[in-house]
Amino acid sequence: MTASKEKKLYVKKDWCKGCNICVAFCPMNTLELKDGKINIKDIESCTQCGRCELLCPDYAIYLGGTEDGKK
């Protein structure tokens, strides 16, 4: 049931407004707010379900490819 390792979770902190929606609705408790911005607390627990990307109103978190320089 492990999700494809092809994708990675990225955050774009300067777009984050700290609304906390992704943290609250992440089913695996992977995320946290740090200094009012989104932070990946525990990447190992992420199953890449994509819910954070789906519910982020500010497009500050997303699943992307593994190419270099995508951070």
Partner: protein, 273 residues
């Protein structure tokens, strides 16, 4: 860098958008972009039209042909766009105040004509941009800056209004149900005729604060817990539907489309020559 979807369908230089922290509009706007992406439309074949309001900021961020028009008149402009170029996929992004109050007349007549336009209403139950005045969709008893002791008006059921006026596709979803928004916008874009999608949004800054609904997360929890799919609603006992609202596809039918009917008139004269 950002996700390929955002990169391909948004004007990156205009982002981050101006909507408040926790505003549901961003989620709905993204779902519309995903719907267009999944349908594989060419960007040049899509025209997004809006009026005035929080919701109507959306076309400024979306990288298609876009029009930001007068308050309430988005559907009037969109009708003009569609009549001039019937091959365009015309999407109207509007808010509850824009669409149901000042633009209410345009809504009912666009529905009546069954012109092939997809309307997505970002319904946040309040006039957010101008400071939290109550709108035609603010529930009875709820507060706004212009209704500090509670709103005594009855609120519109926009889906019933559009259906009654003759829209051929009517559906409702919420910012929490982002995938449902996407599916409904896809179905609406594929429907040949006037399609109406009400996307219930959240406004933590005004509606939430005035009515003590808590932060963005509690408002999203509310959308999650107080919605019932229309397919399940018939089987549920009445007491389980109390205080809930319905989401899903309410109505779909086939009726003559306006621009096609107009073309028939033109063709009939051209043949005579």
């Amino acid at each position: 860098m950002t996700s390929t979807l955002v990169e391909n369908h948004f004007r990156i230089g205009k982002l981050p958008h101006i909507w408040c922290p926790g505003c549901g509009h961003g989620i709905i706007m993204r779902s519309i972009a995903v719907a267009i992406d999944e349908l594989g439309y060419d960007k040049n074949d899509v025209c997004v039209v809006s009026g005035i309001g929080c919701s109507s900021r959306a076309p400024g961020y979306m990288d298609f042909n876009t029009l930001h028009t007068l308050h309430g008149r988005a559907l009037a402009y969109a009708t003009g766009v569609k009549m001039a170029n019937p091959d365009l996929k015309v999407i109207v992004i509007t808010g509850d105040g824009d669409c149901a109050a000042i633009g209410g007349n345009h809504l009912i007549h666009a529905s009546r004509r069954n012109i092939d336009i997809t309307t997505v209403v970002f319904n946040n139950n309040i006039y957010g941009m101008t400071g939290g005045q109550y709108s035609p969709t603010t529930p009875t008893g709820e507060k706004g800056t212009t209704a500090p002791f509670g709103n005594i008006d009855r609120n519109f059921d926009l889906c019933n209004l559009a259906k009654g006026a003759g829209a051929t596709y009517v559906a409702r979803s919420t910012a929490y149900h982002a995938n449902m928004v996407k599916q409904q916008v896809k179905a609406a874009l594929e429907n040949k005729g006037f399609s109406f999608v009400e996307a219930v949004s959240i406004c933590p800054t005004y509606y939430g604060r005035k009515n003590k609904k808590g932060d963005a997360v509690s408002m999203m929890e509310y959308l999650k817990n107080s919605t019932v799919n229309v397919k399940a609603a018939d089987k549920l006992p009445k007491e389980k539907l109390e205080g809930k609202f319905l989401v899903g596809e309410f109505y779909k039918s086939e009726e003559p489309e306006y621009t096609e009917e107009y073309k028939k008139i033109i063709d009939s004269f051209q043949k005579e020559r």
